[in-house]
């Protein structure tokens, strides 16, 4: 079962786990090849990733830029600290919303799990101010999408409403 788990650890960290139906080597490649990262690291629906720079070596540069047709754009930069093929990636990143957030220290581990992989990511929990800034960017889109869905649900239930 590919179920995402998300837990807070004390008030300082977040731990995310997810199982994938591919061996650790394949999952590791999908995280470190920029052409592959650009296909999946897109966030909520509607966003594209015009820039995906990912230099997978210690000290290597990360730069990701996202764009939405109506919600604008934002980016993040980062650096790799450590890579152990195919089991561990340690990197630092910060988002620009548009001001830079504090650095987020991320440690991602890939363990064999049957024929697949168990991925565990541990990251710095953003502070209250950063969470509010992220919400101001993300919530817009999230609530718009929900409201549009509600509208279309109403249109489907009440045929006369659709002719408004």
């Amino acid at each position: 079962m590919s179920k995402l788990t998300l837990k807070t650890e004390a008030d300082t960290h977040l731990v995310v786990t997810r199982h994938f139906a591919a061996p650790p080597e394949v999952v590791f490649r999908a995280h470190t090849d920029p052409k592959l990262v650009q296909q999946w690291l897109l966030g909520p629906e509607g966003w594209s990733m015009p820039v995906c720079i990912n230099e997978a070596r210690p000290g290597g540069k990360i730069r990701y830029e996202w764009r939405h047709p109506t919600q604008g754009a934002f980016h993040l930069t980062g650096e790799y600290v450590e890579l152990v093929a195919f089991s561990k990636i340690v990197h630092v990143e910060r988002m620009f919303l548009p001001d830079p957030t504090p650095d987020n220290h991320v440690e991602t581990r890939f363990e064999p799990d049957g024929a697949g992989t168990k991925m565990t990511t541990r990251m710095t929990l953003p502070d209250t101010k950063t969470r509010a800034a992220m919400l101001a960017t993300g919530m817009e889109h999230g609530m718009e999408a929900s409201y549009v869905r509600l509208d279309s649900m109403i249109d489907n239930l009440i045929p006369s409403a659709a002719s408004r």
């Binding site: 590919s2 995402l4 998300l6 807070t8 977040l14 995310v16 997810r18 994938f20 139906a21 591919a22 394949v26 999952v27 490649r29 999908a30 592959l36 296909q39 999946w40 690291l41 897109l42 966030g43 909520p44 629906e45 209250t128 101010k129 969470r131 509010a132 800034a133 992220m134 919400l135 101001a136 993300g138 919530m139 817009e140 999230g142 609530m143 929900s146 409201y147 509600l150």
Partner: protein
């Protein structure tokens, strides 16, 4: 509090921004009006909608009535976690597809 009331309350970008500001701590109408360059009556109107939706509460402090996020409404941390969970779920669903494509390509080569 019905789902419709919540959606209606959150459909307005100014009200969403007010909630984001209140996530940092309580504030009076005067304090809220400043960054939005809106009049106090305009902000009060938005706050009324948010209060009716059960998302904002007020207390009395002398002549002031500071507003805060209602715990039973949208807790800021829960909101943020829900947003992150949604983004991560979408990412990893796409990654499932990318991994499947990679593996079938690898099979074709070998």
């Amino acid at each position: 509090m019905s789902l419709d009331t919540s959606f209606a309350a959150l459909a307005d970008p100014t009200r969403r921004a007010i909630l984001a500001r209140l996530a940092l701590g309580e504030a009076t109408v005067m304090e809220l009006a400043k960054p939005f360059h809106m009049t106090q009556p305009a902000i009060s109107q938005h706050l009324k909608v948010l209060e009716q939706a059960g998302l904002v509460l007020q207390r009395v402090e002398g002549a002031k009535r500071p507003r805060r996020l209602a715990k039973a409404g949208l807790d800021a941390m829960d909101q943020w976690l829900a947003m992150l969970r949604n983004a991560l779920e979408k990412n990893y669903e796409r990654l499932d597809g990318v991994l499947a494509a990679m593996q079938s390509q690898d099979k074709k080569r070998n």
